[in-house]
């Protein structure tokens, strides 16, 4: 598996994400937001958490219009894999690679804690390492993680089995408790919780490891 992790000014989970990919066996290259191409042969692009461009205007809005994001969109259009975590999820909704938007948390507070996530579908190369209905513990750390989409979009996500994870106890007001969603071809995952922060015993939990291992399994044999 060859992975590229995008680094924006203000990204702060880029190295964590790179380590999680590496521990799953990936060969990882960091790419800068001003780069206009991805390295050759990249299977998956990681869009990390953080505060790209200081969250100016809207979270992810300026990052979504950066040179590298055009390449990420082209990569996705070719059937490439993309994982967006936290701010990365916000970037993917702003680019239009995933539907909906992330609003300010309903309680207005920045929330940093470990939450329970229910695995809603195992039918993706991100979630195939879990059992359907499994509850896993993954940290969240966000101020704008309140997932919003219009009723038609929510019905489509549900109908097409594209809701990857839901919160067992909704922390932020997200519609339908949504914590992570898949693209139509199931190769783009955006999620607010941080699997890369639960990928090493030193983190206090390793429930995120199965996501990276499943990806490595799918993308190494591909």
């Amino acid at each position: 598996m060859r992975a590229a992790v995008v680094v924006f000014p203000g990204s702060n989970c880029d190295r964590d994400l790179a380590v999680a990919f590496e521990q799953a066996g990936a060969d990882v290259t960091m790419v800068w937001h001003k780069d206009s191409t991805l390295p050759d042969g990249v299977d998956i692009v990681g869009v990390p958490g953080g505060f790209s461009y200081g969250d100016y205007l809207r979270c992810g809005a300026i990052a979504a219009n950066s040179p590298i994001c055009k390449s990420v969109a082209d990569h996705a259009a070719r059937g490439g894999y993309v994982l967006g975590v936290c701010n990365g999820f916000q970037v993917l909704t702003e680019t239009g690679l995933l539907p909906g938007a992330l609003l300010r948390n309903a309680g207005l507070k920045y929330i940093c804690k470990t939450v329970g996530l229910k695995v809603e579908t195992t039918a993706s190369d991100f979630t195939s390492g879990y059992g359907g209905g499994d509850v896993i513990d993954i940290p969240i750390a966000h101020h704008d993680g309140n997932y919003f989409a219009d009723p038609d979009t929510l019905a489509t996500l549900k109908g097409e089995d594209r809701i990857a994870f839901t919160y067992t106890e909704n922390p932020n007001g997200s519609q339908n408790d949504i914590a992570g969603i898949l693209s139509e071809n199931r190769r783009v995952l955006g999620m607010m919780p941080h699997p890369e922060r639960a990928a090493d015993a030193g983190h206090g939990g390793t429930d995120g490891t199965a996501l990276f291992r499943a990806l490595a399994g799918a993308l190494t044999t591909a």
Binding site: L103, N105, N146
Partner: protein
């Protein structure tokens, strides 16, 4: 020419910040406020030749997220 762009959350999209402001106003004794919606104003200093249509494109592509926000453009 300047353009003033007003960006607001669409009706039906929860505005927790506006709600917090409404609560604060109520706590201060301003009882006459039934609702508060908070948005933003973006002023653009436009070069000669830039048109209102250009500003519309800027709104669609960057200044507003039309999934959750509406915008109006005012030339001043």
């Amino acid at each position: 020419m300047k353009a003033r762009v007003h960006v607001m959350l669409k009706n039906g999209v929860l505005d927790p910040q506006g709600e917090a402001v409404r609560h604060a106003l109520g706590a201060m004794g301003f009882d006459g406020v039934q609702g508060v919606r908070q948005g933003k104003v973006i002023e653009l200093d436009l070069a000669d030749g830039a048109s209102e249509a250009d500003v519309e494109q800027m709104c669609e592509k960057l200044l507003a997220n039309t999934v959750i926000e509406s915008y109006t453009v005012e030339l001043v």
